[in-house]
């Protein structure tokens, strides 16, 4: 610092009293001032465009996020039907079941690692009847919901549809399809 100051003193930017009172800070003529004005003007214009660019980028990235979320949401809603049709979950006893999931498969899938194949962030199946006060995860006694897949993402928005949850049962020597109403819920990561 001392070295720089001593250098300035040797050159035209002398810090002597003489140079402070007149034509300020070492500007000797109008030309110098003009250069400074032009430089400041160019800098101002440059910063103005940088600010406009930043504002535009901010707006653009907000739009992009919204669009991403919109597409993810669309995909999740479309995926509900896909999930119901997937061989790993669907109930196909006679080939004519529509919107039916297999409870046995769901029980198996809740412990199987199938994470790479799911097109959504989470898959949960809630039993609707009988009504319950608190959620108990299956397979536990008195359970009322299954978690087939959970990506572990924190902010998840869920979309759901009602389905039949079926399995084969045997009572009094005869085998029948036991179905109950349930809700399939698929989650999408909220990026907004």
């Amino acid at each position: 610092m001392v070295m720089i100051l001593s250098f300035l003193e040797k050159k035209k930017f002398s810090r002597s009293k003489k140079n402070y009172n007149n034509k300020s800070f070492g500007f000797h003529n109008k030309g110098d001032i003009r250069i400074q004005q032009t430089a400041f003007m160019i800098l101002a214009v440059f910063f103005f465009f940088v600010l406009v660019g930043l504002f535009f980028l901010g707006y653009y990235s907000k739009n992009l996020k919204a669009r991403t979320h919109e597409l993810e949401k669309e995909q999740t809603i479309a995926s509900l039907q896909t999930l119901i049709d997937m061989a790993e979950l669907s109930y196909d006893a006679t080939g004519y079941e529509y919107l039916s999931l297999d409870e046995d498969k769901i029980l198996i899938m809740s412990v199987e690692d199938y994470s790479t194949i799911w097109p959504v962030s989470s898959i949960k199946i809630y039993k609707v009847f009988p009504a319950f006060d608190k959620l108990v995860k299956c397979p536990n006694p008195g359970c009322n919901y299954y978690v087939v897949y959970d990506s572990g993402q924190e902010e998840i928005e869920e979309y759901s549809t009602f389905i039949s949850l079926c399995r084969k049962n045997k009572e009094f020597g005869s085998i029948y399809d036991k179905c109950e109403i349930a809700k399939l819920s698929a989650g999408v990561e909220n990026v907004e």
Partner: protein, 300 residues
């Protein structure tokens, strides 16, 4: 004073030119980014569009996808375990195809070729081996002509009204597909259950609805997707084996567990060339399941 003015002018010109250059460069880059985003969005939309196209409850579905400009759909297939299809789309700019980001699809099996077009014809069929494994999606912009197709194939194409597949009534632009003869660009031998498709002397073996994939898609994509399907069939066999245990625990006796274990082990590391051999085992397994179904049981 004149010298200062000149310096001033030169300084302003250099700085102005730099700003102008930066602005033009920025606008060009932004244009490229916008285009990239647009292509990425198109690829994502394409994957969403194929969701309702999956046959699901229906036996088959057909749809058309139109683009405002000539578009190429690039499909990279990876066969590692469940594998994936990486889909990206491109429009032509100054003679070059500009691709967006690839969208990875893990739960779909898309059979396509790299031919460009502004209209793509897509249809889906279920793949059963012997239980339903997944829906197959066939996307193509080219025009095909099937000569003397098998009755079931003819009925299916006419029933779905697939516009880019003509039966017997060929035009010059059509890619000709001959059934049980070798006079065309693509020749198909066998029957609707199993057989092989020959393209430039190279064979692709198929079973069931995979025939469309072998005809319409590039060989690499076909074989990769077939491998993915075989792997998934094996994983489903594992689930069915565990389901058999659960059913047995409820008193619903099933004897399919051993067969499913054997089936699963035969599927391991199998390729598309093994499809016809595997199909025999699949048929036997299906017969056993059908027998159990008659008694009220059955796994699938």
């Amino acid at each position: 004073m004149k010298g200062v003015f000149n310096f001033n002018l030169i300084f302003a010109m250099i700085a102005g030119a730099m700003i102008l250059f930066l602005a033009i460069y920025g606008v060009i880059r932004l244009g490229e980014i916008f285009r990239f985003q647009e292509e990425t969005e198109t690829a994502k939309e394409l994957t969403i569009l194929t969701d309702p196209l999956q046959s699901g409850f229906a036996e088959a579905k057909y749809g058309e996808i139109s683009f405002p400009e000539e578009t190429q759909i690039r499909n990279f297939c990876t066969a590692n375990e469940f594998g994936r299809n990486d889909i990206s789309t491109a429009e032509q700019t100054k003679g070059e195809w500009v691709y967006g980001t690839e969208i990875s699809i893990y739960n779909k099996y898309i059979f396509s070729s790299e031919k460009s077009g502004s209209k793509f014809y897509a249809f889906s069929k279920a793949f059963e081996f012997p239980y339903k494994v997944a829906d197959l999606i066939f996307i193509s912009s080219e025009s095909f002509c099937f000569i003397n197709p098998w009755e079931e194939i003819e009925e299916e194409i006419e029933g779905l009204g697939i516009k880019n597949i003509h039966i017997d009534n060929c035009s010059i632009e059509d890619i000709r597909v001959c059934f049980d003869s070798s006079n065309c660009e693509i020749n198909v031998f066998g029957n609707v259950d199993e057989g092989y498709v020959e393209k430039s002397g190279i064979r692709s073996y198929f079973i069931g609805n995979l025939i469309y994939g072998a005809i319409l898609a590039d060989k690499g994509i076909y074989e990769c997707n077939a491998e993915r399907l075989i792997y998934r069939a094996g994983r489903i066999a594992d689930i069915f084996g565990k389901k058999a245990d659960l059913m047995n625990s409820r008193g619903i006796d099933t004897n399919l567990k051993e067969d499913l274990i054997l089936w699963q082990s035969s599927l391991e590391d199998s390729k598309s060339e093994d499809l016809i051999v595997l199909n025999q085992i699949a048929k036997e397994l299906n017969n056993k399941n059908e027998l159990e179904k008659r008694g009220g049981g059955g796994i699938w």
